[in-house]
């Protein structure tokens, strides 16, 4: 909280004029100078042109590839990591998905997997999630996607396992130390916003083509949410509680294990869930480097625009996400209500009463035996090893999805064109031309000034450095085009996020109904819904914005809902008793009190929007997204793609810095620690 200390001095200078007037003044000045200098020094770079930096990146990439077999770093470092991860994934695959040791089928067949999943969900969670998990897994078989699903599960489990192994300790550290947090944040921004396409090809150079590369690609993208949200959780524990613990003589370690971790458990689990979601969101991209599983089915189907088949496989990914999410959530609730010791997990929650506690232990043993029998059967008998039937449910789903898509394409496009043109001409085009046609130094100065006013000196400096580096990448003009779309998308994301998030936070019923849709939007491979969107909106920047909103809005909704729910019920009741109506409760109590959640939502919303820039490039957004994709596809453009990827990261770091600092300042001014 270094910023907090600086606030009083800086406030002194600015207090005279409210910040929003200063920002408005800066913007007015911008417009004025824009009118004079329009079209000068815009640093535009044509699609096929390269700068010296881009060529240098190409050379570095080539030289790494050339001495791969003699470099000790490869021989003793990357190869070892690859071996460990390859073995982990291959081991899980031989258990559940791939034929092993000449058997023609995996060690454990579908019946055994369903049995284990059901048993574990019940033992760690409750009966309801156990039934859900068993139904979900059986559904994969009915879809005709058993083996593909198990391959995806094997890969996801490995990636999530390694992510958490690294992520939770780092998150706790970042939560307890401001310095660690400050150092880690740009790296996390980097990992979450650097487009996978940029490092996908180099990864296969380091870790070869195979499960290791796929796992590591997934891990890079999936670990940051675990770290960030764990840190956020630790920080959200009220300062008074922590101080009380210290004043009662707790050591740092005791405070961590007895106060901070138990009190932040609920939010940490949200981090785990987000990690799972992020890992599953990578399934299709990893398929481009031969990662086995559902992603391959999606990619293959989309080559011939077979939306039905792609949707069927996408649905399997969604079902897997929902099952994993609900089981982990139930497990955390059990551990939170049960005895919070290491071996307390299996014990029943106290609230369910005596007889159940007594019987639960016996039932658990019996259930374990049943699961073991199912595993044995599925190991031995063909009918329990290979899922019976042709997967006819899958073809039904596929043809239904095809019908719906075709109908929507044929009947909705009139309306959708009007919407697209309204947003494009009314909002996007003016903003974009302001950004791209202004001289670079003008936009740079505006960014630095706005950053400094909103976020303080540190954010201003960050913005300045990022602007300088952006110019250095040679991708300035494309960055500004992307920035315009990103800003529009983020505004839409936040608008949706606040409306739906507050609704979900206030109504458990709404939460239950909406949440599966949000999960679906986060993990359904974008192209499955983008094919109909392409028909509706064409290959345009608007389609790219829609894609970003679909992907980024769910996370903001979830975070805001969580924040609204965390507002103490007594406060809300007090406000209601004092005669506040619903609108007043929301705007005067619930939203202001969930300010830190709102800040996190803006931050994550922006980062998620930026992580969709490349997908946007695939559907008509052009600019940085297209540069990255082209760099992945054409050797000569590799360096330019890398530079474009860096530009996306720089945009991310800059806005992350500004939004976080701004959030800290607003909350600090209001006298709360967070």
């Amino acid at each position: 909280m270094a910023v907090v200390a600086q606030v009083p001095t800086r406030l002194g200078a600015i207090r005279a004029i409210p910040r929003r007037f200063v920002v408005a003044g800066i913007l007015a000045l911008w417009l004025l100078i824009f009118a004079v200098f329009r079209g000068h020094q815009t640093l535009a770079l044509a699609a096929a042109d390269l700068t010296g930096l881009h060529r240098w990146f190409n050379d570095v990439n080539d030289s790494i590839g050339a001495d791969r077999n003699s470099n000790p770093l490869f021989l003793y470092f990357f190869n070892e990591i690859r071996l460990v991860i390859d073995n982990l994934v291959t081991f899980i695959q031989s258990l559940i998905s791939q034929p092993s040791s000449g058997r023609g089928v995996p060690q454990i067949g579908w019946l055994g997997v369903v049995g284990i999943v059901g048993y574990l969900s019940w033992a760690l969670g409750n009966v309801r999630v156990a039934l859900l998990a068993m139904a979900g897994f059986t559904f994969f078989g009915l879809q005709g996607l058993w083996q593909e699903s198990m391959d995806t599960l094997a890969l996801t489990l490995s990636a999530v396992f390694v992510s958490l192994l690294i992520g939770i300790p780092l998150g706790v550290w970042a939560g307890m130390s401001d310095r660690a947090n400050r150092i880690m944040t740009p790296f996390l921004d980097f990992m979450q916003t650097m487009p996978t396409f940029v490092y996908l090809a180099p990864l296969t150079l380091f870790f070869l083509i195979g499960p290791a590369s796929a796992t590591i690609a997934t891990l890079i993208y999936a670990a940051p949410p675990a770290i960030r949200i764990t840190a956020h959780a630790i920080r959200s524990v009220p300062a008074t509680t922590v101080e009380a613990a210290y004043s009662l003589g707790s050591t740092r370690r005791q405070t961590l294990t007895k106060v901070l971790l138990p009190m932040s458990k609920r939010t940490v689990v949200m981090g785990i869930n987000q990690t799972i979601m992020a890992a599953l969101a990578m399934v299709t991209i990893a398929a481009l480097i031969d990662a086995p599983g559902l992603g391959k089915t999606v990619v293959k189907a989309l080559q011939s625009l077979d939306v039905g088949t792609a949707f069927n496989a996408g649905l399997a990914i969604v079902v897997m996400a929902i099952v994993l999410d609900r089981v982990t959530t139930a497990a955390s609730e059990r551990s939170a209500t049960g005895v919070p010791s290491a071996e307390g997990r299996g014990r029943a929650p106290g609230r369910l009463g005596g007889p159940f506690v007594k019987w639960r232990r016996h039932l658990l043993v019996a259930g374990g035996v049943v699961a073991a029998v199912l595993v044995y059967l599925s190991h031995t008998y063909v009918w329990a090893a290979e899922f019976p039937g042709e997967g006819s449910t899958g073809s039904t789903i596929a043809s239904a999805a095809d019908t719906v898509t075709t109908w929507a394409q044929d009947h909705l496009s009139g309306m959708t064109n009007a919407l697209r043109d309204a947003v494009t001409n009314g909002l996007l085009n003016p903003f974009q031309s302001l950004l791209t046609d202004s001289p670079w130094w003008l936009v740079g100065a505006v960014l630095v000034a706005v950053g400094a006013v909103l976020g303080g000196r540190r954010a201003g400096v960050t913005a300045g450095v990022c602007v300088a580096l952006l110019v250095g990448t040679g991708m300035w003009s494309d960055s500004m085009t992307t920035l315009a779309s990103t800003a529009v998308a983020t505004v839409l994301v936040m608008a949706l996020g606040v409306v739906v998030g507050v609704w979900m936070g206030r109504s458990p019923m709404a939460d239950r109904l909406i949440r599966p849709t949000l999960d679906a939007a986060q993990v359904m491979p974008p192209f499955v819904y983008l094919v109909p969107f392409l028909a509706l909106f064409g290959a345009t920047r608007f389609t790219a914005i829609v894609a970003a909103v679909v992907y980024a809005a769910p996370v903001t909704m979830k975070i805001i809902a969580d924040g609204v729910r965390a507002v103490p019920e007594t406060t809300v009741e007090a406000a209601a008793a004092a005669g506040s109506n619903t609108w007043q409760i929301i705007t005067k109590v619930q939203l202001p009190m969930s300010r830190s959640a709102l800040a996190l939502a803006v931050n994550q919303g922006l980062i998620y929007v930026l992580s969709m820039v490349v997908v946007g490039g695939l559907v008509g957004a052009g600019a940085l997204g297209y540069d990255v994709v082209a760099g992945f596809s054409q050797g000569e453009l590799y360096g330019k793609g890398l530079a474009a990827g860096l530009a996306i990261v720089l945009l991310g770091v800059m806005f992350d810095g500004i939004t976080q600092a701004a959030a800290r300042r607003t909350t600090a001014v209001n006298g709360r620690r967070h």
């Binding site: 096929a48 296969t204 070869l208 994709v629």
Partner: protein, 330 residues
């Protein structure tokens, strides 16, 4: 589990054990059926023979998938190879030549940059001759447009219609929808050098291009875009190519000054240096594999339109074209 078993009282363990045993007994008596391993699986693993494992890269487009399906089918069934298909983007596949994870790429579209890097510089790959397919790249319009305005298929008349091609992305100019980032395009230079009142808009993916053309044909909308053949989509919507000034040797030497059509590419095969020297029968198959655009389009249609599996599509074609396959195996 162990903790609970130990902690549990004796009767509890007994009861649970009895329940478990009952279930086990029931299960074992009630369920029978074929055991795993009773019927030996397909001959694939047993007849490996001298061919061994053949690592075949499969790049992500349907035409390539057709090539790979047929070559893999022949290698497996006629040569007894164990074929490992690896789904990879081009760049990654070429990289695999050096790391020993890819033996062959079956349909290479030009890619002089990759050839220089891996064949000339790193010497990890060698060319293995043409596939017999001709790759055509150019500007296309949907059939309804070419029918209604026959003169539109000459670049000279494009300016006349430019305003019709306007979209939300192209401002006051007509839109030229460019595309799949995998292929080199000179379109920005072409538009400039041919003085066309068009703006290049990057669709960004094959999916976006196909969807744009499909929708345009269905709704009779105006569209001009970059496309290529052989491509399965042309069997659904036969796009019509716009004539640009004809290609002449060297007219594309200076990228910024290009004012002519794209050359016709002879698609070719690339293999890893190691594979070429291995004496594997799979290598001689790859080397002599050659077929026409019509052949590929047919298999691609089986896969993309008739939704057959790769294996089934390849089988159907191989059985109908025994003579061609026999020529590859000589």
């Amino acid at each position: 589990m162990a903790i609970h078993l130990v902690a549990g009282t004796r009767p509890a363990r007994w009861r649970a054990g009895a329940a478990g045993l009952t279930v086990l007994g029931l299960a074992l008596t009630a369920c029978g059926g074929a055991k795993v391993g009773d019927t030996p699986s397909a001959a694939g693993s047993s007849s490996g023979g001298k061919c061994g494992t053949f690592n075949l890269a499969v790049n992500p487009w349907v035409g390539y998938e057709a090539d790979a399906a047929v070559v893999a089918y022949v290698a497996e069934h006629k040569l007894g190879c164990t074929v490992k298909k690896k789904d990879l983007k081009e760049e990654v596949a070429w990289q695999g030549f050096g790391t020993g994870e890819v033996d062959a790429v079956l349909e290479n579209w030009g890619h002089d940059d990759l050839k220089k890097k891996y064949i000339t510089d790193q010497k990890t790959a060698v060319a293995a001759g043409p596939t017999g397919n001709n790759g055509v790249i150019g500007w296309y319009v949907p059939p309804w447009l070419a029918k209604k305005y026959p003169d539109i298929t000459s670049y000279k008349n494009l300016n006349k219609y430019a305003s019709q091609f306007k979209t939300s992305e192209s401002g006051s100019q007509g839109q030229l929808l460019d595309g799949d980032p995998s292929y080199v395009t000179n379109d920005a230079a072409l538009v400039k050098n041919l003085n066309l009142n068009f703006k290049v808009v990057y669709a960004g993916s094959e999916t976006a291009l196909i969807q744009a053309f499909r929708q345009a044909e269905k709704k009779q909308e105006w569209i001009l875009g970059y496309f290529y053949e052989p491509q399965w989509f042309l069997s659904e919507v036969p796009l019509v190519k716009v004539d640009l000034p004809p290609y002449k040797e060297g007219c594309d030497a200076v990228a910024a000054a290009v004012a002519c059509d794209y050359p016709v590419y002879d698609l070719d095969k690339i293999v890893s240096t190691k594979f070429a020297a291995s004496g594997s029968p799979a290598y001689s198959l790859v080397k002599s594999f050659s077929w026409t655009n019509d052949d590929q389009n047919l298999v691609a249609k089986y896969i993309a339109v008739d939704k057959m599996s790769d294996e089934a599509a390849a089988k159907k074609w191989v059985e109908a074209n025994g003579d061609k396959v026999a020529a590859w195996l000589k």
